[in-house]
Assembly symmetry: C2
Homo-oligomer: 229 residues x 2
């Protein structure tokens, strides 16, 4: 049995009664996922849905043409793999642990019955998905109106806010992330990402390294991202 206090503060469970939350947790299974391992694979029948307790995941998709892209990064406290909630029976992507992680899993068929019995949970879930929709629209807007450099700037800022820890004067992205990863998040190539990050480094905006990214000048980066030059 998972301790309620571990999860009761999460937005998705906000406003739920303790007994209901306990009931929910009693049906969850805890599972460690080693760095580099997949939680499930794109195209598999969706049998469970998940909550990330600890660690970090990236959700990948491969297109029919074999190209890869990163749909999103899953942070602790995020739900993922709730295919049925969006009317699908198969998982649309593959979550891969980029750091040693722990996930909570529920059988998918529990979802509907639980949502029906807990309207608060249903509303929370709807809002969470809604926020994701909003983020997706932002990304679409960025991709259709902004050139690569600003898209990368936005992505790096987002990462700094969602997964940044202060390290001296810098903000460090708290998981291993490659140029290729950033390219797959912004819809460009690792070459272009590398060039732009190198340029930023000479300008003192960021510090780079192997699977490493530090933001040195967040406001400068924001100016670059927002400003209509």
């Amino acid at each position: 049995m998972i301790d309620r206090t571990l999860v009761s503060a999460l937005p998705i469970f906000a406003g739920m009664e303790e007994s209901a939350l306990d009931k929910l947790l009693s049906n969850a299974v805890q599972r460690p996922v080693a760095k580099g391992a997949k939680v499930f694979e794109q195209g598999q029948k969706a049998t469970s849905f998940y909550l990330l307790l600890q660690g970090r995941l990236k959700v990948m998709q491969v297109t029919a043409g074999g190209q890869q892209l990163i749909v999103r990064v899953v942070h602790p406290g995020d739900l993922f793999g709730f295919a049925l909630a969006i009317g699908r029976t198969e998982y649309p992507g593959t979550p891969i642990a980029v750091a040693d992680s722990i996930v909570l899993a529920w059988p998918m068929n529990m979802m509907n019955s639980f949502l029906e019995r807990n309207p608060t949970l249903a509303i929370n879930a709807m809002q969470m998905i809604g926020q994701r929709l909003d983020q997706a629209h932002n990304r679409i807007r960025e991709m259709s109106t902004q050139e690569v450099e600003r898209r990368i700037a936005h992505t790096v800022i987002r990462l700094a806010q969602e997964a940044g820890i202060h390290e001296g004067a810098d903000i460090r992205i708290d998981f291993p992330i490659s140029r290729q990863d950033i390219a797959e998040m912004t819809g460009t190539t690792l070459h272009t990402v590398s060039r732009i990050l190198s340029n930023w480094e000479t300008r003192g905006l960021v510090k780079g390294g192997r699977q490493l990214l530090l933001v040195s000048n967040l406001t400068g980066l924001k100016r670059l991202a927002e400003h209509e030059d």
Copy 2:
């Protein structure tokens, strides 16, 4: 009072009891929207949410830099303007009627109470938003991996499926749509759209015109959209 039979078949109300649906409808206000008129404007406080009964809307967004894009096309039976469901207090976009339309409006504050009392409705709403999320992800994938011609092909195919009516051997997009509109849906310029559609016309795939689009060869278009050349 709006007649229940007009809306009871809509997916969003699937599984709802008649009495609950009647109660819901008794709080709705019907409102005609003339072609070219806006239902509400981006940035306004979200006071109502809507259902499109008849006609067609395009939802526009303007970026900080003044660029426009079309977030989506609203077809009869679709909900729109449910900002609160996604945790916002202002409308994120502006719906404009591209044909004379009729909408149903509810006060936004009714939403939560109604969802709490109708778990089925909450689940339906969640799934609907989820499907939209899925569509948004598809669009992101297209934008990051495909060149303009294939993106336009996908968009035209989608329009033909969602708003196409057969007209002889052709499929006609059933509302006035300009090259500019298509450009704003695909993240390109009207010039590029014009060039590509002209080319398609010489190849017998589509027929064009002023605010007009007919698909002559859907399978050919699909081959163009799917095929890895």
